[in-house]
């Protein structure tokens, strides 16, 4: 068995609202070439297994895993697809290397959201076809219900949620890869058109196109390949119920459990003392607050207040979504978790340029698969 696994190569393409000049394969190819060059490896000779994260309906192709190998250099190699988020893909690579059968694994995720003409209709097809779909609920409508419950249970205010948007979109101005950097005021967020009260248009991340590839290595290889390995200290993932009727609406137990699993592997008993910064899900503004509380990084009910007070700002005690998050960078569909992990790696390597955090050693990435799922994943990384 290999106990320790490191991320030794990263590459990305994008992120932009539209990318008419490239196909998804070309985006993936660009990201892969950069990741392999970064790790100093040849995919045909060195990489032993490949993983893609993708969903058929996002791609418009059934059995989409058919189209995953060529642009990664993975033809005639052990490769498989996970119908999950990018962090599920990284967790899978982590498991493969830990078996001792593999030393070098590549993980890929991408979004070509601009190709999807009917994304709201596609995501609504994730609802239970018998009990929920006949109600013709829009995806954002269900998020609005959840936001309402979260605000009710925790006493969080819409203004505090808007502060998340202001922070993340300002952070994105310092991230050259981010698609939606902007200098907005709280009022501009609150006055945006309502989608499903209390959820407004600007509380909602817009999609972007992009591709991300990462190379994972066993401890034995990692020290040969790079001076800056970023170690995976723990990976956790969990599903709650898919049924809208049976779930908790204010809390997200799946993130609580995924975090416990990752912390246990990492030997972290007091996450608030150990985790220096975090990249968490912010598909909707309130999700960042809900996630931070579920992760145990902020006490229940305090995330809104602390966000207003600057606790999660880039210069705060716990910088959150310094990359801009999904609100500032763009939501990358199945690759979203990879984008969160990418920022953690870049920060831990000290390569974040204008948005570099000082002296960070341990970071956390977390993702959620979106409405109507209760699927979350957590990764703890350290340099």
């Amino acid at each position: 068995m290999n106990y320790r696994v490191a991320i030794v190569g990263i590459g990305w393409y994008g992120y932009r609202p539209v990318t008419p000049e490239v196909s998804y394969k070309e985006m993936v190819y660009q990201a892969a070439v950069r990741a392999y060059a970064d790790a100093g490896v040849d995919p045909r000779k060195d990489i032993e297994s490949f993983i893609t994260v993708a969903e058929d309906f996002h791609e418009g192709t059934s059995i989409f895993d058919e189209y995953t190998p060529d642009q990664l250099g993975a033809a005639l190699k052990p490769m498989h697809t996970i119908a999950g988020d990018g962090l599920h893909g990284l967790a899978t690579g982590y498991m493969l290397i830990r078996t001792g059968q593999f030393d070098l694994v590549a993980v890929e995720g991408h979004s070509k959201a601009s190709n999807i003409l009917t994304l709201p209709e596609v995501t609504a097809y994730a609802q239970d076809p018998i009990l929920n779909r006949p109600l013709r609920m829009n995806t954002h409508f269900i998020a609005g219900l959840e936001m309402n419950r979260f605000l009710f249970e925790t006493g969080t205010t819409p203004e505090q949620c808007a502060a998340v948007v202001v922070k993340n979109r300002r952070n994105a101005l310092k991230n050259p890869a981010a698609a939606y950097g902007a200098n907005l005021t709280i009022d501009e967020i609150l006055n945006s058109p309502p989608i499903s009260w209390p959820l407004g248009k600007r509380d909602t991340a817009e999609e972007a196109d992009g591709a991300i590839v990462m190379v994972l290595a066993s401890e034995r290889l990692a020290s040969n390949l790079t001076d800056q390995p970023v170690w995976i200290l723990g990976a956790g993932w969990c599903n709650d119920t898919p049924s809208l009727e049976n779930r908790e609406w204010g809390r997200i137990p799946y993130v609580e459990q995924a975090a416990r699993m990752a912390y246990r592997q990492a030997g972290i008993n007091h996450p608030q003392d150990t985790i220096g910064f975090a990249e968490v899900d912010d598909t909707y503004s309130y999700k960042e607050l809900q996630s931070l509380e579920a992760l145990g990084l902020i006490n229940p009910g305090e995330a809104g207040l602390l966000t207003e007070a600057g606790f999660t700002a880039a210069d705060g005690d716990l910088p959150v979504n310094v990359s801009g998050g999904s609100l500032g960078s763009g939501h990358l569909l199945d690759a979203t978790g990879l984008a969160r992990a990418l920022e953690v790696v870049v920060q831990l390597r000290g390569q974040a340029g204008a948005r570099q955090l000082e002296g960070v050693q341990t970071g956390l990435a977390q993702s959620w698969r979106g409405v109507p799922t209760t699927s979350g994943a957590v990764l703890v990384l350290a340099n």
């Binding site: 058929d56 190699k77 982590y94 498991m95 001792g100 076809p129 018998i130 969990c238």
Partner: protein
């Protein structure tokens, strides 16, 4: 430190039927419940769940894995869905294997489900969307059509007759007559019946093809220290292999499945197998079409190229032969609910190697078996070697 050993300790399967009355979620629940009962476990004992199901288009549900999660018992548990097209059924136990071999988990439930009948009028239409949107979809190909190309290529390369290939269908459907879950078991079928069946896309005829089916299968995997507490007869996963070839299927020779060979070599190496033809006692190659069983036996190195049909002619492949092939009845006989059909082969090896296969039992205390699945655009091979 060596690799963690992983065993199959329980298995369950629903009947494979043409139109199940149950929803896909109910099918997964039934199979999971049977698998747990077979080893006297409950969901409280399960630490993580792996799910396999092929395209979302069958059920018409986006993120179908998320929808099926509670049916498979993944309530407040780590849960992931893997897919490699038709190879998924034998991949999902590999996914379970690496969950345990990684040291993160000790007990994992592996579930595979397919409900193809929801697709109206016929599931074949869902396959229209698997082709390349620019170069292939305008030609409106379907699966029967491209596999007819491959069958033609295989027959013409090695000079194999349709009558010989039909022997595969006959043996598998006869074997399936002893399987209580089978959809198309026929004890009295003959080669003439196959050759006289309706032509679908020459040279593929109706009895050359497995049926569209609904069904689910589940198995319980456990780490060595747990497996030995649960059962006296754990069946070990000795080797796993998988391999994905290029998407450009039109650019390669279809006569030989190189990706199956690579997957098999990976599994043999892990299992320490040097001479597969002597060391494998039961083979469950993937047989959605009768020629595919031959194709795959060659890829698995269990027969010379173009010579696999001899195993059927000389009786080696029969249930009481030297190396029984698809004693379950395979996809041709039991049915082909895609992902579930692959995992059915794992369940069959589990029952055969424990001596629990009833009327289907292979004589002579078989010690080791191999299961294999295949899928995508003639592109992926997944292989598991299991032993006592």
């Amino acid at each position: 430190m060596g690799m963690r050993k992983v065993a199959v300790v329980g298995a369950g399967m629903t009947k494979f039927v043409r139109r199940a009355q149950e929803t896909a979620k109910e099918l997964t629940w039934q199979a999971s419940r049977m698998a747990l009962q077979s080893c006297e476990m409950t969901m409280d004992d399960i630490e993580a769940v792996c799910l396999g199901t092929a395209p979302d288009a069958f059920d018409g549900i986006h993120m179908n894995g998320e929808y099926l999660s509670d049916g498979a018992g993944a309530w407040r548990k780590p849960y992931m869905r893997s897919y490699v097209g038709g190879g998924t059924g034998v991949f999902v136990p590999i996914q379970g294997w690496y969950h345990i071999a990684s040291g993160l988990f000790d007990v994992v439930l592996v579930v595979a489900e397919e409900k193809m009948s929801s697709y109206y009028p016929h599931a074949q239409a869902a396959f229209l969307t698997i082709f390349d949107h620019t170069t292939e979809r305008p030609l409106k190909p379907n699966l029967l059509w491209i596999f007819a190309l491959e069958m033609n290529r295989y027959m013409s390369t090695y000079g194999i007759s349709k009558a010989d290939i039909a022997r595969v269908s006959v043996l598998h459907k006869q074997n399936a007559a002893d399987h209580p879950c089978a959809l198309l078991g026929e004890a009295n079928i003959s080669v003439e019946d196959v050759l006289n069946s309706e032509v679908l896309a020459w040279p593929v005829q109706r009895y050359d093809v497995s049926p569209v089916s609904d069904g689910a299968v589940a198995v319980v995997l456990a780490a060595e220290h747990i497996a030995k507490r649960i059962t006296d007869k754990p069946i070990w996963i000795e080797g796993v292999g998988w391999n994905l070839d290029t998407s450009y299927w039109t650019n390669k020779d279809l006569a030989y499945p190189r990706y199956v060979e690579y997957a098999a070599r990976m599994a043999y190496e892990m299992a320490g197998i040097k001479e597969p033809r002597k060391e494998i006692h039961i083979a469950e190659p993937y047989d959605p079409f009768d020629y595919k069983a031959l194709h795959h036996l060659e890829g698995l190195q269990l027969a010379e190229r173009g010579k696999a049909v001899q195993l059927y002619i000389d009786g080696t492949a029969a249930r009481d032969g030297n190396m029984p092939v698809c004693p379950s009845g395979g996809l041709l006989g039991v049915g082909n609910p895609i992902a579930a059909a692959g995992l059915m082969k794992i369940a069959e090896l589990f029952w055969q190697l424990r001596g629990e296969a009833g009327a289907r039992q292979v004589p002579g205390d078989p010690r080791r078996g191999i299961a294999q699945a295949w899928g995508d655009l003639m592109q992926v091979g997944t292989v598991v070697v299991m032993g006592r």
